[in-house]
Symmetry: C2
Subunit: 368 residues, 2 copies
C-alpha cells in the first residue's frame, strides 16, 4: 500500500483561548495525514512532534531527499502501520511550519506578531489540536504517540481529555521540566536574544533564510549536547580530529566541534528564532500538575492505557522522571499503565534514532 501522505492547513476564525488569558484569533493549523480513515473512524493514531519537529513525520516530499522525522516508525508495514491506521500529525501553534506562530501575520494589519505573539503553553498546543480533530469530526482516537515535547503533549491529552484516546505512548519526556533542561534552553534563549541580528525580534526573515542567526547556532550547540550522552559522544567522536584538519594535534579541529558547527549552523537556516524562543518557553513552563492540587490529582484523571518509555542515558529528560510518573500512577491506584526503560547509549536522541529498541513495543501496543 502507499503511504497516502496528504498535507493540509486548516483555518480557524473562532478565538483560541490560551492558558495565559490571551487569545489567538484567527489561527491556522498545518497537519499531515497518512493512510486512510476507516468507516467507523476507529483507526486514528495521533503523532505529536518535538521542539523543532513539524507535521511532516513520515514520507518524503517530491524533489526532496530527507524523509519525515519519524519515517522509520510511521509508514506501510512499519510499527505505526499506515496500511492499518490513519495517522495525523499537526504542527504545534507557535512553530514555524504552517501553524500560526510569532512570524505569522497579526490580524488585521498583517505585520508579523514577533514579540506580540502570546506566550503559548503545551496545553494550548494540545487544545488547538483537539479543536482541529473536532473540525475533522474525529472525537475519539485509537492512540496518541509523542517523544520529548511530543511526549508532554501525549501526557496532557491523557490528563485533560481522558476519554479522547484509548492508548497513549509518551517517550523521553517528563511530568514537569527540570532545572537542567531549563538551563540548556536558557543558553539558547540568551544567545538568540543577544545576537545583534536578532534586533529584539525585528530581524529580517530573508537574512534568516540566507544564513540564520549565529546566536541560535550557539544555543543549538548547547541543545545538541543535551540530546546526546557521554556514551554516544564517545563512540561517535571520541577525541578524533576532523580528517582534513588533523595535520597537527595542537591546531586541528575535533570531530565533535565540527559536528556541532555543521548541525547548528545548518539548523539556523530552517528554524525560526522567535519560534525557538516561544517553544522553549513552553517547554520550560510545562508542568502536568498545573491546574491541579498535585501531580497525584492530575494523574487520577487519566483513563487511557498509558505507556511510558524512557531511555537510560537520556541527560535531558532523565529516565527517573518517567519512572516518577509511573510511581505516582501506582500510588493513586492506576492499574492501566506500563513503564519501559530502554537500554540505550544514544541519550535523548534515542527516541528519534534508535527505533529498533522500541518499535516492536509500539507495534504491539497499537495492535494489542
Amino acid at each position: 500500500m502507499s503511504l497516502n501522505l496528504q498535507t493540509h492547513t486548516e483555518h480557524f476564525t473562532n478565538p483560541l483561548y490560551l492558558e495565559s488569558g490571551r487569545i489567538l484569533e484567527p489561527y491556522d493549523i498545518a497537519y499531515e495525514t497518512y493512510g486512510v480513515l476507516n468507516e467507523d473512524k476507529s483507526n486514528v493514531v495521533v503523532i505529536c512532534h518535538a521542539l523543532t519537529g513539524s507535521h511532516h513525520c513520515a514520507g518524503t516530499y517530491e524533489g526532496e531527499n530527507k524523509a519525515g522525522w519519524w519515517d522509520g516508525l510511521v509508514g506501510p508495514g512499519k510499527a505505526v502501520d499506515t496500511d492499518k491506521f490513519f495517522v495525523i500529525c499537526t504542527n504545534v501553534i507557535g512553530s514555524c511550519f504552517g501553524s500560526t506562530g510569532p512570524m505569522s501575520p497579526k490580524h488585521p494589519h498583517h505585520e508579523p506578531y514577533r514579540y506580540k505573539f502570546p506566550v503559548v503553553t503545551i496545553k494550548d498546543m494540545v487544545k488547538a489540536q483537539r479543536i482541529l480533530f473536532d473540525k475533522l469530526d474525529i472525537h475519539r482516537v485509537h492512540a496518541i504517540i509523542g517523544g520529548s515535547m511530543g511526549g508532554m503533549q501525549a501526557l496532557l491529552f491523557a490528563v485533560h481529555y481522558p476519554n479522547f484516546a484509548q492508548k497513549i505512548i509518551s517517550l523521553a519526556s517528563t511530568y514537569a521540566t527540570q532545572p537542567w533542561a531549563i538551563a540548556f534552553n536558557k543558553v539558547a534563549q540568551e544567545a538568540i536574544l543577544k545576537d545583534p541580528d536578532f534586533k529584539q525580534g525585528y530581524y529580517d526573515p530573508e537574512l534568516i533564510k540566507e544564513h540564520g542567526l549565529s546566536g541560535m547556532a550557539i544555543g543549538r550547540m548547547a541543545g545538541h549536547i543535551s540530546f546526546l550522552s557521554h556514551e554516544s559522544m564517545n563512540s561517535k567522536f571520541g577525541r578524533e580530529y576532523k580528517k582534513d584538519d588533523g595535520l597537527y594535534e595542537l591546531f586541528g579541529k575535533f570531530q565533535v566541534e565540527s559536528y556541532l558547527e555543521y548541525n547548528s549552523y545548518n539548523f539556523t537556516k530552517w528554524f525560526d528564532p522567535l519560534s525557538y524562543l516561544y517553544i522553549t518557553k513552553a517547554i520550560n513552563i510545562f508542568d502536568l500538575a498545573r491546574g491541579f492540587d498535585s501531580l497525584e490529582e492530575a494523574m487520577k484523571k487519566i483513563q487511557a492505557e498509558l505507556h511510558l518509555i524512557s531511555f537510560k542515558n537520556d541527560i535531558l529528560f532523565k529516565n527517573f522522571e518517567m519512572k516518577e510518573i509511573s510511581d505516582v500512577l501506582d500510588r493513586v491506584g492506576n492499574k492501566n499503565h506500563h513503564y519501559l526503560d530502554v537500554d540505550s547509549d544514544y541519550g535523548h536522541d534515542a527516541f528519534l534514532v534508535e527505533l529498533d529498541k522500541f518499535d516492536t513495543y509500539i507495534k504491539e501496543v497499537l495492535n494489542g
Copy 2:
C-alpha cells in the same frame, strides 16, 4: 599562626619553548606563597588552579571580602596546613591574573599579543611552573595538589617530572579531555568569537572591565551546566521562581535562569575572553599520553605516590575517567596509587565547594 600570604611576580627573559614549537619570550609568572619555607625545603606544597582560577588560592586581600578559591582547604590548621607547609600557587601562562597571557604586551612593541599569542598546552603551563620553582631554588616538593585543569597539571608533573614531587593529588580531572567537555567548551568559544564586541580579538579592554562580553556570558552559562549535576540543580533550584518574578508562572523567571544570568554576566567582568579561548583550547587538547606510544607508557614514568579523587556526579570529568587512570596504573604494575570516588551530589563543583568530603583525606596524605 598567620597565613603569611605573599604575592609575587617573577620575570623571565630566557625563552620558554612551547609544545607547539613556538617561543614565549620574555614572560612573567605571578604566584602566591603561604606559610614559611623550612630550612631543608622539605615542606613545599604546590597548588594548581583550574580554568578560571588564579594564584590567589587562600586568604583575603586587604579591602576585599572574597577569599581565595581554595581558602577552606589551605590555611593555618586546615587540611593544607600553612603552619606546617610552605604553599606555592602560580597563575598559569595564558591566564589573565599576572602571568603572561594573550593580553600581555608583546615584546618589543608593547601592543597586546591578542591572536598572536601562541597556543599553550597544559604541559607548557607545568613547564613554566617548573622553571619558576628552579629560580626559587626549589628542586623537589612534598606534594602537588590540583582539581579539574589543576588536576591535569598535577598528573603532568607526575609523568614528566617523576622525581619532582613526593606525593601528587589529582581531583575531578581526566587522562585526556573527552568529547562532552570539548563540546561544552565549544559553545563558549563560539559564543565569544561571534560576539561583535569581541572584534576578532581586538576588543577594548576597558569595555570588558565595564560590562564584559555577552558572548562570554552565554558560553559561561553552558559551562555552569557542566559544573553542576542533575542532583545539585534539583536541590539548588528545582522549579522555583525568582522571588520577585513569581507573580504568575507563565511570565516569571526560574531561579536556575536567574542563577545562570547572575553568575555568567558577573564572570565576564573579571575574566579575559582571549584567556578563556586559549585556556579552553589547552584543556581540549590535554592528553596525558601525548609524546608517548600509549597511556600505559606515560603511566610507567610515574614515581610519586599518586592519589586520584573523582566525584560521583561530576558530568564534566566523569568519575570513570579517573578510575581509568587507576586501572591503567594497576595494569602497568604501579603499586603506589590510590583511587577515591567521593559520593557527592555537587557535580564537578564539588572539588571547590564540598571540601568536607575530602579534606581529611588530603590532610592524611600530606601528613602520612
